[in-house]
Amino acid sequence: MTVSDLSKQSGFRSLAMPFPDREVSGVYVGDLLSWVMGRANEGDLWLTIMTNVNVIAVATLTGVSAVLLCEDCEPDSELIKLATEKGINLLVTDKKIYEACLFVGEALS
């Protein structure tokens, strides 16, 4: 499933979608950046509550297909600007991480 399809199906709001056709090949959840850096796989959808600009560097270097900010976390405006600049798909939802995971799991299966 592509990031754009996932966003449409789920109602996850798109804050930046420079690469709508990227395939979501897995899921990773985490807020500790170097933990994510060590464990997230290329193509994963990354669910987090972290909203500072370092998220973009981690997303770029791990090659995740999109970042999904959960639990209604308000991103820094700088984050959205940077996501567009660096080519990172950025989505947001008010769902709790667990509920967002259930939804994504369903959509991907």
């Binding site: 807020d31 500790l32 950046l33 170097s34 933990w35 850096m37 060590g38 290329e42 972290m50 500072n52 600009v53 370092n54 998220v55 560097a57 981690v58 770029t60 270097l61 791990t62 090659g63 700088e78 660096k86």
Partner: protein, 140 residues
Amino acid sequence: MGEPLTFHFDVDGDNFTSAGEASLSMKKNLRQLGISPEIIRRVSIAMYEGEINMVIHAGGGTADVTVHSDRIEILLADRGPGIENIDLAMREGFSTAPENIRNLGFGAGMGLPNMKKNTDSLVVDTALGVGTTIRMTVLI
């Protein structure tokens, strides 16, 4: 590839919200050189962790990357406080990151372990009150 290619970066120690610049631009350079995605991923993740460490723990430093035909070398050097116990620092979960840094998502104590995991060799040279030099090699 003939002569090795070298890249130099000054890593600013003041601004940890824009840190990662050197690693991100190195990633671009490697892509332009046609290095394989897996090698690029390993090099840029290891370099990023080292770069962030220099910003957070050492007030900045320098990064020098040399691309040889058979390997990529990353040299990180800072004049920070040094690492008191390197065996401890290499352990997963060990961190001295202060509260304000942890709030940004750092401080899992996974940076040095990630650097080790993603490189073929990692050599740390550190002295208290003098600084830290880290040399990492990734074989192509």
